[in-house]
């Protein structure tokens, strides 16, 4: 990166940290109605800082729930445009008693900054703003055109931003989106996430007898909604974790030999993973596939919850009339969510036990995504990340889903760079969430350097 840029960051690190602390003191818990004003205050903070960094057309956009913030700077003709996304809302801090220092009083320990939202996502998204400030201060201008779209509902489903993106595709037009809301594979290892799984989330409801029946009097002749649901669900996956719904693997493409080889080079200890992360006696899933393949590159089916009949203390001898399960299928790129939904509906229709009626309710359905690692912006980002951290950038995937990436692809037609500076032990959504302070500063450097390089 340019010397001027690097010097500016170095000279302003302390202030950058104080500003982030101020941001983190705002308890912008989007799910809590009593914190709606705080979430609004966080939006106002972002507006103010975007203006101070030299962004223009800064808007606080009210929605039905929490506001969005838009801003841009479009004075680099002939240069590409980057759409920066992030969020200023945070998860609730419960359970409070497990925090070593209060969640909204940022505290420095061991080179980390502890506070709710420090890594997810205030610290990361604020580094975009500080990168802009740095470039403007160091060079008097910006090397690329920039648009910012920052939301306050990421932790509660992101409904408003999805609607906004769908309706404002032209306004958001850009060459690439940049999101810093993921993590590095390991400390010091620059990581770009280039694959996400999609998600079809369903409720499956079973209905047996008209009302709960006495299991003594009717047991043996009456259908049982809970057992009917158990029978149906058990048929959906075999003991090896392979989904039994016909057609589900039709469009699944294996990772390339190169990608598989790159995963094999990632530091990974299956025993530690089992013990420290999963915490069970053994791993499960499809034979013949590595953990990376199983969680990143294979569709999986999970039951997230199930309820029906009597679950209180003691014994009640009912044949339950009704039962419900929450079921999802994670999709890999190329799988069509609508086709998957149809396959599930057909399977349920054909495999439900007699006497039990089923209803499938689809709560959401979004595709998986792959970013082409040959894309120019990805190549530049990987190099910029590598330049700052002094190691080759690794490409990983995530088994999770980030809907905004799909929205940018669908409506704006652009790929997204998932360039995150979090670490695996940051404790997102947990007590004692932290963000590594060195990564905060180096994140600002990496973003600024990426803008510089991408503008060349």
């Amino acid at each position: 990166m340019s010397q001027a840029t690097d010097t500016y960051v170095r000279q302003n690190e302390a202030r950058f940290l104080e500003e982030l602390k101020e941001f983190l003191r705002i308890p912008s818990i989007s799910t809590a109605p009593e914190h709606a004003k705080d979430t609004h205050r966080a939006a106002e903070f972002v507006v103010e800082k975007l203006k101070a960094a030299g962004l223009e057309n800064v808007e606080l956009i009210e929605t039905e729930r929490h506001p969005l913030v838009y801003a841009d700077w479009l004075h680099a003709p002939g240069k590409p445009t980057v759409l920066c996304y992030g969020h200023f809302d945070v998860q609730p801090p419960d359970p409070l008693e497990l925090w070593e220092t209060p969640p909204f009083e940022p505290s420095e320990r061991n080179g980390n900054l502890y506070a709710r939202g420090s890594a997810d996502d205030k610290g990361q998204m604020y580094s975009h703003i500080k990168a802009v400030e740095t470039l403007r201060a160091a060079n008097g201008t910006l090397p690329v055109n920039l648009k910012f779209l920052i939301e306050g509902e990421e932790e509660v489903g992101g409904v408003s931003v999805a609607e906004y993106v769908a309706k404002n595709a032209a306004k958001l037009k850009a060459d690439v989106a940049l999101v810093s809301d993921t993590e590095m594979y390991a400390p010091g290892l620059p990581t770009l996430n280039v694959g996400l799984r999609g998600l079809v989330y369903m409720e499956i409801e079973a209905r047996g007898p008209a009302r709960d029946l006495h299991s003594g009097l009717y047991g043996g002749a009456a259908p049982n909604a809970v057992f009917g649901l158990v029978e149906l669900l058990s048929k959906m996956k075999d003991a090896g974790g392979r989904i039994q719904i016909p057609g589900i693997y039709d469009d699944v493409e294996p990772p390339s030999a190169d990608e598989k080889a790159s995963w094999e080079r990632l530091p990974f200890d299956e025993k530690e993973y089992l013990k420290d992360e999963v915490g069970s006696t053994e791993l499960t899933g499809e034979a013949g596939y590595s953990v990376f393949e199983r969680t990143w590159a294979r569709p999986t089916l999970e039951v997230h919850g199930i309820g029906g009949g009597f679950t209180g203390v003691g014994a009640k001898t009912v044949i339950p009339a009704k039962a419900v399960a929450k079921v999802s299928i994670r999709l890999v790129p190329k799988q069509d969510p609508d086709k998957v939904v149809k396959s599930v509906e057909k399977f349920v229709k054909e495999n439900g036990p007699r006497g039990v009626q089923f209803e499938v309710r689809v709560l959401s359905a979004g595709p998986g995504l792959m970013v082409n690692t040959d894309h120019h912006a990805i190549q530049v980002a990987a190099k910029a990340f590598s330049d700052i951290y002094g190691k080759p950038t690794v490409f990983t995937r995530s088994g999770g889903s980030i809907p905004i990436v799909g929205d940018f692809a669908t409506h704006v037609g652009i790929p997204t760079i998932l360039m995150g500076f979090g670490l695996p032990d940051d404790g997102l959504h947990s007590p004692n969430e932290k963000y590594n302070i060195r990564n905060y500063y180096d994140g600002i450097r990496t973003i600024a350097h990426f803008f510089e390089e991408y503008g060349k």
Copy 2:
């Protein structure tokens, strides 16, 4: 029955009904702590009426929860002794808005008396007391020796009475027990219940990962406690309702050809049963067995409830760490509950999917029972019932369990006559519970007539 006895009942019907109404006005809801005093008041009512009927040694026995009442009359040397059992506690009346008249304000309509507890069991047990009064008033003495044991916890598990029977076998010594807490197979059809299923009731808990995991990040590699439980439960029964736990059918004896033939003569319309009682699209259960065989003479396995993971509104993408199901197996006579428990434990150990740990907790385990229809007391009871109603008495079984019958068999070593005067549409445990007034009077007649005949 003797003319004097019959005349006394006829002349006192109106008063008998008013006394029962007084009894029914006491809201002795045993499960509700705020009604503990009312339950006690119901015990005092029973004490008073037993004394008035001429019973001796009347005791109100305090327990850890609700009182028991004991009484006897032992002045018929050389004659058999009958142990009369009943209960004065009732189910909660909820949902209140569905009652046409208030549950604790007895109301006469269409020849029925509507009130909570009218059939279950105040009306039926009170007929025993009125039969004693009748015999003493008409004849100046009683034809048999009598013991009464009446409880106030039947609707909440009957813990105190079970302990009392176990500890007071000598005091309760008798030739036969008499319980009126069941129903006639059809209106006007005298019915003795001569078979009950036993019950092994268990909780099965599944544990997968150490804590709920993110299904995106770990789906495909981590065990899922809910799905593990679903897999295990689904293996316990096949699609035809046959239990798959090895050894479970070893000691199952088919009903005799005579018994089967007698069931085939019972009025039964499978379509009406499906529509009016079960309320589902079709019946389930083992092929080749009639509904009577399936519900009375075959062991069955039911899941009464299941819970685990996220069951709130909307979507949460967790891999649940824990899940629990309530599971019971109904047993037929000759099956050993302990052996069944061991079979289940072995099955769970051998069939649980990998990565998931299971725990089986047994909440109760009691055997099924058959009363020998050749037993003298049963033969006399059948004839007495038949004499009053003018039709041959039918012998039926019940798919349910009445633990006190097992306690009398185990500890006192006596069979129980299940001579009930309820009707299938009495609405036990439901709004608008009723007891047929004609059956109340004829029940008193039948009990008195049985005592007379049994004393001959």
